[in-house]
């Protein structure tokens, strides 16, 4: 076990080194620097004069080639320092700390809703497999699965923010909070919840379609096994076979899925947060690429990659827990 963990850790660290190296190189090779992009694009007269630019480059360590700067950054990360954002003048860890809450609020709600609906839907689909109502539901879920989130988000915005404007059904177009006269915490919570409805809806429907299809297809494979036939033959009722014999065995791939959803839980969705201007991690990443804010790009990349690797490790470990036949050795 210890041996296995050490090996995974070593491979994981190597992977992290390669990923951050590649992204660092790419980020530094993007045209423009944080200093020129922020000032030069809006107003040419505010362009820095070359001497100032050189001085600022020195101050931010941008005068070194990227491979040197990468090792400096790596050294700082090893000491627990992710650096300071160039465009926002704040430590990257503070920025991430501010953004992680809103993202978690969205994605955790969406994930809970998804699981709460996907499991019953998937079971229903396998119980009624082949019947007209199951075919209709499955097709509908398939259609939902192919529906692009950004199109759905725009449709929802048009319906709830434009067409229903002035009715009680009106929902805010974007942002996380509105202008509140009464800043009690209950009113504030309700306000955030109202703002979160559309983004949560958008995040939920795609994964709902995907998860319930996944549950359905793993169930389809399980019900063909011999032990299901045995259970039926010994006289177990259809519901008992479904829950007791079949569903338990689909838990293995499901648990793996749970581990793999870890990065999206904290990483957020760039597209949804961008459309609804939700102040989360995905939007921070998008903005930092636009602003060429290298420390923030790198901090987020590091976080995303660590989460992805941790999710894979978690999935493998959980796999051993739910299936005693599998061992990590």
């Amino acid at each position: 076990m210890l041996n296995y963990m050490l090996r995974r850790l070593a491979i994981g660290l190597l992977t992290l080194l390669i990923i951050t190296g590649v992204i660092y190189g790419l980020a530094r090779s993007m045209p423009g620097t944080p200093l020129t992009v922020a000032l030069g694009e809006t107003d040419p007269s505010r362009k820095l004069n070359p001497a100032d630019l050189e001085r600022m480059k020195m101050a931010y360590g941008l005068d070194k080639p990227w491979y040197q700067a990468y090792f400096l950054w790596l050294g700082n990360v090893a000491q627990g320092d992710l650096g300071r954002s160039i465009s926002r003048k704040q430590p990257v860890t503070t920025l991430i700390g501010e953004r992680i809450g809103p993202t978690l609020a969205l994605s955790a709600t969406a994930l809970l809703l998804t699981w709460a609906m996907a499991v019953p839907l998937g079971l229903y689909a396998s119980a009624r497999s082949g019947m007209p109502d199951e075919r209709a539901t499955s097709f509908l879920l398939y259609v939902l699965y192919s529906f692009p989130t950004f199109v759905a988000a725009l449709f929802l915005q048009i319906i709830f923010a434009v067409w229903l404007r002035g009715t009680p059904w009106e929902l805010p177009l974007f942002g996380m909070t509105g202008d509140l006269v009464d800043p009690s915490w209950a009113a504030r919570l309700a306000d955030v919840a109202r703002h979160a409805i559309l983004p949560v809806l958008c995040q939920t429907y795609v994964s709902l379609a995907w998860y319930s299809r996944f549950i359905h297809s793993t169930m389809e494979e399980v019900v063909r096994q011999d032990y299901i036939r045995t259970a039926r033959a010994k006289g177990a009722g259809p519901w008992r076979v479904l829950f007791h014999h079949a569903f338990r065995n689909t838990l293995i791939p499901l648990v793996t899925l749970l581990g793999l959803s870890l990065p999206s839980l904290l990483g957020g969705s760039v597209i949804i947060e961008q459309i609804f201007t939700w102040p989360g991690m995905g939007r921070l990443f998008f903005e930092s690429i636009r602003e060429r804010d290298y420390p923030t790009i790198m901090g987020l990349t590091l976080l995303f990659s660590v989460l992805t690797l941790a999710g894979q490790l978690l999935a493998d470990l959980l796999y051993c827990v739910v299936d005693p036949r599998v061992s990590v050795e």
Partner: protein, 356 residues
């Protein structure tokens, strides 16, 4: 007794595929899109499909595909893109076959440019109407014309990027699976690393990295990041098939590794690999339109469906800017997903037997 003909694998797969109405409908839809893409200048445009001018026959509509195909004489005679009036005035003998819809994907049609056709409405006046079936955008450019000409982009994105991803994936998977050992070790690690980089992170960084984004660069980037799943699958297939008897037979007959991989294993591994490629086309189209939607796509002249949606973001009251391109993206993605599903069911023997 009737002679039983043994059909090939692909013929049998096609027969099974044909029995699925949804998958067939999806295939017909994609063929329809290909038709629209090829005939785009003949469906919507302001340049004649064919015309006779000063004794010569020209096809000015081809300039929609490439600006260099604009016949030089029209540039010399200062047509400036407005054909109907100029043709009539400069050569009364001329005739022309016009596109089905007289609308341009790059500019608004002006008043009386075409007899009896008023100027395109601008801003939120541009509701779908008799002359602009899908409405117009805020500058008065016809949405239908933009969408018809954007079909090329949507289709090319799928084919080009997944062609690239498929090639990389099959080569990487084949080398790793067939040779095994340290080659497999190395290639598997590379695949894992690329898999671990969050796709959108890599794509956004790459798109920002290329200086002037064109639609071809976007396609190349989507292809260069989307091959990992295909590589894993191909590796598994090659690993499984390399120890099969027909490979042993080929090897003992003296076939080299390249010949075995290309002639003997690849045809047998192609069907399972084709399925993720088809699903990949769907997700490539999604990614491209999402990138254009976020403003990271190709610059304005190439009208991608996602770019149309980006226009809609700042004009939410113009619902037609969302509805028509949105539904087009959705239907295309759905069609490719259905084709992938149909292909999977038609070629996967495990799924086939269980249906009985």
């Amino acid at each position: 007794m009737p002679e039983r003909v043994s059909h090939g694998f692909w013929f049998a797969a096609w027969r099974r595929y044909r029995r699925k109405p949804l998958a067939m409908a999806a295939l017909v839809f994609v063929c329809f899109l290909i038709g629209v893409a090829i005939l785009a200048p003949a469906i919507a445009g302001t340049k004649p499909v064919l015309c006779r001018y000063k004794g010569q026959i020209y096809a000015p509509c081809l300039s929609y595909f490439d600006r260099r195909l604009e016949p030089a004489i029209f540039v010399k005679d200062r047509f400036r893109g407005t054909y109907p009036q100029n043709l009539r005035e400069k050569d009364p003998e001329s005739w022309a076959i016009w596109p089905l819809v007289f609308q341009d994907p790059y500019r608004a049609v002006r008043d009386n440019e075409w007899p009896g056709r008023p100027a395109n409405p601008t801003k939120d006046e541009g509701h779908p109407n008799r002359f602009n079936l899908f409405g117009t955008d805020q500058y008065g450019v016809d949405v239908l014309a933009k969408m018809v000409h954007g079909t090329t982009v949507a289709l090319a994105v799928g084919f080009v990027s997944m062609g690239l991803a498929g090639t990389i994936g099959i080569v990487v998977g084949a080398l790793g699976g067939y040779f095994g050992g340290w080659i497999d070790m190395l290639l598997s690690r590379v695949t894992e690393v690329v898999m671990c980089i969050p796709t959108l992170v890599l794509i956004l960084a790459l798109v920002a990295f290329v200086d002037k984004p064109t639609i071809w660069k976007t396609m190349a980037i989507i292809g260069a990041t989307g091959w990992t799943g295909i590589a894993r699958l191909a590796r598994g297939e090659f690993l499984r098939l390399r120890s099969s008897e027909f490979v042993l037979a080929a090897r003992s007959a003296g076939a080299g590794p390249l010949r075995i991989m290309l002639r003997h294993i690849l045809p047998n591994a192609l069907a399972p690999v084709l399925v993720p490629i088809t699903f990949g086309i769907a997700s490539a189209i999604l990614t491209e339109s999402a990138l254009s939607f976020l403003g990271f796509g190709s610059p304005p002249p190439s009208a991608s469906w996602g770019a149309l949606l980006n226009d809609a973001r700042s004009n939410l009251s113009m619902w037609w800017l969302v509805a028509f391109p949105g539904i087009a993206i959705f239907l295309t993605v759905l069609a490719y997903n259905l084709i992938g599903e149909g292909l999977q069911e038609a070629t996967d023997p495990r799924l086939r037997e269980s249906r009985k």
